[in-house]
């Protein structure tokens, strides 16, 4: 197999990997915000449920969760799972990453000293104004490095989608490696992940700089 054929075959897998990545980031970051708000809710039962959710999502392997999302509907309810594969993958990744993002957001919010809320109140800010005008901009600044970490992990975690027979780039690398008995496909996959993560890190650094207005 020529390098060109290998690359063009794997290009399809790269697109599929990117699809998982972008959809997961798109859905899990806002969902993480909601989870975080519920986690900080004053109603105890809501807090407990969210705590259990986070514990399960963080405490079990993502691969297992993907299998559960995909095969669960069939084994539990007997529903047909034809054409459901991709949805299950996005669902699995989103729910898992939302839990992590929620905890990152929470860490950011709880790092803001209480004095700032009091000062805002004295200055006549409403609760919503305080959150969006004073708290949130600072939170975004502090959590950005952790978010970058998580997003980079996500790029590499996309390879777990092969548990559901989704031909992303690493699955293709394994298949080509088996038929060609060579390590070249793994190198190609490695370079792909590295470039993808480099782009992520670069973009995140730019965003960090944009928020660095006090320096």
């Amino acid at each position: 197999m020529s390098l060109y054929t290998m690359l063009s075959t794997m290009a399809d897998g790269m697109l599929k990997t990117c699809a998982i990545f972008f959809l997961t980031v798109l859905f899990s970051m806002p969902l993480g915000m909601i989870v975080m708000l519920l986690r900080r809710s004053k109603i105890k039962p809501v807090q407990w449920i969210v705590k259990i959710y986070i514990a399960v999502m963080r405490g079990t392997p993502l691969m297992l969760q993907l299998l559960a999302w995909y095969f669960g509907p069939y084994y539990l309810f007997g529903w047909s799972i034809r054409g459901y594969r991709f949805t299950a993958i996005i669902l699995g990744f989103t729910m898992n990453y939302a839990a992590y993002f929620a905890e990152i957001y929470r860490g950011g919010i709880e790092s803001i000293p209480n004095g700032q809320y009091e000062a805002a109140e004295v200055l006549g800010y409403s609760k919503i104004q305080t959150f969006f005008k004073i708290i949130l901009p600072q939170v975004i600044k502090t959590i950005l490095p952790s978010v970058t970490n998580e997003v980079i992990t996500l790029v590499k975690d996309t390879s777990l989608a092969f548990a559901l027979a989704y031909s992303e780039v690493f699955a293709l690398a394994k298949q080509i490696a088996a038929s060609q008995t060579s390590f070249t496909p793994y190198v190609v996959a490695g370079v792909f992940y590295f470039i993808a993560n480099y782009v992520v890190a670069f973009v995140m650094e730019r965003i960090e700089k944009a928020f660095n207005y006090y320096k």
């Binding site: 197999m1 054929t5 290998m6 063009s8 075959t9 299998l67 095969f71 069939y74 084994y75 047909s80 799972i81 034809r82 594969r85 092969f162 548990a163 559901l164 027979a165 031909s167 699955a171 293709l172 394994k174 298949q175 080509i176 490696a177 088996a178 038929s179 060609q180 008995t181 060579s182 390590f183």
Partner: protein
Amino acid sequence: MKKVLCLLLALTMLFSLCACGAAVKENAGTKPAEADATDAPEAEAQDAKFVFLDEDLGVETYAIGFRKGEEELANTVSGAFKALVLDGTYEQIGSKYEDIKDYLCLKAEDIDPADLPERGSGDSSFTFKHGFDLDYPPYSFRKDDGSVGGFDVEMCQAVCDYLGWGYEPVPFNWEAKDMELNAKSCDCIWSGFTKEGREDMYTWGVTYSNNTQGILVAADSGIKTLADLAGKVVGVQIDTSAAELLADDQKALADTFAELKTYETYTVAYNDLKAGAIDAIAIDMTAGTYLVSTAS
């Protein structure tokens, strides 16, 4: 103190990187030297670098697995398969795959032409979902042009063509094969699928190939018999017949090994063997021959 520690860490990293570089260089350096050597014995050793031991671990047969209780589907597919043996398609597809043509066990003279389904007798609105593993050359794998192929894939396509069914490939993750089958995301497991030891777990279609499990060693390793494997490190791929044999029928043999290493794919095991990290690989003859013949 911290600075010293940092410096030390950085140095260790640098050294480990250097070591990597040196190893690569060394390899690159020896290769041309090998190519230059034109002595006959040297070239011969190159030819037969890895060989199978004369003693084997056991014989197994490959068949098509269906969900339990789906006799009708199994019979239709098996019937069409047999019809393709009669008209020569089976042999013709087999001849494309050097490594397995000797292992195809169905013979046209053994087949009773009565009771076989007619060409085009299937329901044309039905799509047959073929579940297989793409990591398993030469039965099912990615071909040189990047497309999906292999003996099992071509045979299944021929069966669907014969019956007039649609064909849908479902390349799955081998460990999830039963979940995929039971959840009906595929209709069969047809991927060099060993029948032995699984007789009661599926409804079986036609048995179309047999295979021998053997031990692959370096020709100059000095290992000649199964008994020589005592105290050696042997590699095997997870969830294969070779792995099952060593855990079951050949357990006594496996106990004599220094270690039985389980790999996710044979490709990695083979590279370990080439690098001398392990002494032998337990693998079926077709896959082993394929590895040795294609590995660069």
